[in-house]
């Protein structure tokens, strides 16, 4: 397989000891198999996420993202910027669209970047990892390295918001996107196509500040997965993963439910199917252990 190079934007949550550390572990395992070479953008910074709006002004937040793009253009010329985190991708992509669309805005951004000795020319494109997998490689290629098809594994593909709206993956439907189900199938597992909370918002951004409200969303998302007979939920978004997994215990405490639904990343599925060990596939990074997936990984 010819190697493909990308300027990698891991994002804060993927860092060592951070809330999505195991996401990165699994992504690395997958990329190795697929000859995708990710080079981290030197000294990349936080995207500001969508939540920073009260503190950060419009331009400040654009500049924050423009810095990463400028760094990519400078150090990794010609490479697309790839983000694994949905929020990072959205923030970076929105900034790019805005800067490319408006000359004056780009001028302002560059005036600020200049202070840090940088410039963004509007070249570097912003992609999400799943876009790379689906658009650059294609499902067939993704299926090739599979050594342990995850047969019999019933999985609810939870797309959530930010990889889906407003940009979407491969121009897919906002209401019923298919890409995640296709990835699940590529790993040999069964995608539950009737899973009806696929694009429901988990309230992640407000998980800390409006716990009841966001946990109500999480409850819907998890219970619907149970209704469909899912073994686990799969998601492309660190924030979704954390919220939907982490707060199940709290919901149980408060409401006497017995939610215990594993929530894993598409990349953990693929890594396992590609024969990675539980550790390599990041399966050890869960509060609710995805036992069936771990079993598959341990199977020799």
């Amino acid at each position: 397989m010819a190697e493909k190079n990308y300027a990698f934007y891991p994002g804060c949550s993927s860092q060592k000891g951070a809330s999505a550390a195991n996401y990165l572990t699994s992504v690395n395992a997958v990329c190795n198999k697929l000859a995708l070479r990710l080079t981290a953008i030197p000294d990349w910074n936080c995207c500001g996420a969508s939540i920073s709006y009260a503190g950060g002004s419009e331009l400040s937040r654009q500049v924050l993202n423009a810095r990463n793009l400028a760094l990519a253009e400078k150090h990794l010329p010609g490479q697309d910027v790839v983000a694994t985190c949905a929020a990072c991708w959205l923030a970076a992509r929105e900034t790019r669209e805005q800067l490319v669309a408006s000359e004056p805005l780009r001028a302002d951004a560059n005036e600020a970047l200049e202070v840090a000795g940088l410039e963004y020319q509007g070249k570097a494109k912003v992609r999400h990892m799943v876009e790379v997998l689906i658009e650059d490689l294609g499902l067939e290629t993704l299926a090739k390295p599979v050594v342990k098809a995850l047969e019999g594994l019933k999985i609810a593909g939870y797309v959530g918001c930010q990889t889906n709206r407003p940009f979407g993956i491969a121009g897919e439907s906002f209401e019923n996107p298919q890409y995640l189900d296709r990835l699940i199938e590529a790993a040999g597992a069964t995608a539950l196509s009737d899973y009806d909370q696929k694009v429901t918002c988990c309230g992640g951004a407000l998980a800390f500040t409006e716990p009841e409200k966001s946990q109500a969303q999480i409850k819907m998302i998890v219970e619907s997965a149970y209704d469909q007979g899912a073994d686990m939920i799969v998601t492309p978004c660190p924030l979704c993963q954390a919220n939907v997994e982490v707060y199940q215990s709290q919901i149980n405490e408060k409401q006497g439910t017995k939610l215990n639904m594993p929530v894993v990343y598409y990349s953990e599925l693929l890594a396992t199917a590609y024969g990675a060990s539980a550790k390599e596939a990041g399966l050890d990074g869960h509060l609710i252990a995805p036992d069936k997936l771990i079993d598959a990984a341990e199977k020799r």
């Binding site: 439907s173 906002f174 209401e175 019923n176 009737d194 009806d196």
Partner: protein, 429 residues
């Protein structure tokens, strides 16, 4: 064929209500007219409408009158299964390429139906929006003109095609027919190519194509029509049960920059009309709810709106429905949104949802002569050389009444062109 047309001939493209009106009005002024229709019979979309607003009368009544006018008028030449593929020249002297698709049935056909008796293969019935099937040898509809059967191409090469040919007592079936192209020279052209319903699949939050019980207003016309797939009973496609709680969603595609940027004008009246179908086609106590942004019941149609407002069966909600969810338990469709008059949230269940889909020009997606002037939505104004004109639904989203006006006006403008061409000839000769 070329002989029939001269630069004083008027070409009308489209045999729906607008095209027929333009052709007949011009011919009844003494003009020679060629009327070109892409389908196998005349009548267009109005022939598939059950009732007209606001009179709740039947489109076929007007169609019958127009067909009578047509039969009585030798000046109109009708070409069916015919498509204009190219227009060259300029006002007063156009050359037009017309592609004639094979019908596999010639003019000897007496519409006796013997061919259909021996054919078993069926095809989706175009007249009923494909909601039911029809024999692959068929008469397009009761008032089809020409009153002649059509053999669907899917039959070709099958033993059934042979059987049909053998069954025809008058030797009207000709399996050797092929595509034919003819050239016409005409003085002016009226584009009465009509409209098509916006593709409801693209309106994702409403789940058309995902939920069986979400239908378009165009399909609903067929459901209410005794000649339709359900014989005039409004049944839920999901389970064939009578619908008793129907939602009508306005601006399905219209007034929406994600879809059609224009207002399609008729949809409000169409839904108001369709709520009245419940009286005859739905069980006692059936309810309807109209979800709207602005009700556009213009001029005297306001009466009709007030009548429907007074109808206890019908509820109105000023709200653009946000999304439709299928309730697996109840099998019902749940509409989510807010009543904007004071912000009242709702999640209302319905057993059938009718999308009042917008109108877009039938010609969108086809390549048309460059010098046709079209607006942002593709509606045809006319040609820059002033010899071609849009009429009816091709020129703007119009109700029938206004479409016929538009067609009549277009006929006069076209006549002015051909008469001018005639005068020019006289001067020359």
């Amino acid at each position: 064929m070329n002989a029939i047309a001269t630069n004083q001939t008027l070409l009308v493209i489209g045999g729906g209500i607008s095209g027929m009106s333009a052709a007949l009005e011009a011919a009844e002024c003494g003009a020679e007219v060629v009327l070109v229709e892409r389908n196998a019979s005349l009548g267009g979309r109005t022939a598939q409408i059950y009732r007209y607003f606001p009179k709740l009368c039947h489109p076929l009544c007007g169609l019958e009158i127009n067909l009578r006018r047509l039969r009585a008028n030798p000046r109109v030449r009708v070409l069916t299964l015919a498509e204009v593929t190219e227009v060259s020249g300029r006002r007063g002297n156009y050359r037009v390429q017309v592609k004639l698709a094979p019908r596999y049935v010639n003019e000897r056909c007496t519409a006796c139906g013997e061919c259909a008796k021996v054919v078993t293969r069926t095809i989706p019935n175009p007249y009923n929006q494909g909601l039911d099937t029809i024999k692959a040898a068929y008469l397009p509809h009761a008032l089809a003109h020409p009153q002649r059967y059509v053999l669907d191409a899917s039959l070709l090469g099958s033993p059934e095609a042979e059987a049909a040919r053998a069954a025809c007592p008058v030797g009207a079936i000709d399996l050797q027919m092929g595509v034919e192209t003819i050239e016409l020279s005409v003085g002016s052209i009226i584009w009465a190519t009509g409209w098509k319903p916006y593709d409801a699949v693209k309106i994702q939050p409403y789940g058309y194509g995902r939920y069986l019980d979400v239908v378009t207003s165009v399909e609903f016309e067929r459901l209410a029509d005794p000649r339709g797939p359900t014989r005039g009973r409004i049944l839920r496609p999901s389970n064939g049960e009578p619908a008793t709680n129907i939602a009508f969603i306005q601006c399905a595609g219209s007034r929406d920059e994600n879809h059609l940027r224009h207002c399609s004008r008729v949809c409000c009246m169409v839904s108001l009309k369709q709520t009245q179908y419940l009286r005859e086609a739905a069980p006692e106590g059936a309810q309807a709810t109209v979800y709207y942004i602005d009700i556009r019941a213009i001029d005297r149609f306001e009466n009709f709106y007030q009548q429907v407002r007074a109808d206890a069966r019908v509820k109105f909600l000023k709200s653009k429905v946000a999304r439709i969810v299928h309730n697996a338990q109840s099998g019902q469709l749940v509409l989510h949104g807010v009543d904007t008059e004071g912000y009242h949230r709702y999640a209302r269940e319905h057993d059938l949802v009718v999308l009042a889909v917008g109108m877009e020009p039938e010609t969108n997606g086809l390549d048309l002569p460059e010098d046709l002037i079209r607006d942002a939505s593709g509606f045809i104004e006319g040609s820059s050389d002033g010899g071609q004109f849009g009429a009816g639904g091709a020129a703007a989203p119009l109700d029938v009444n206004r479409a016929v006006q538009s067609a009549t006006a277009a006929a006069l403008r076209a006549l002015q062109v051909t008469r001018a061409a005639a005068r020019a000839e006289e001067l020359k000769g």
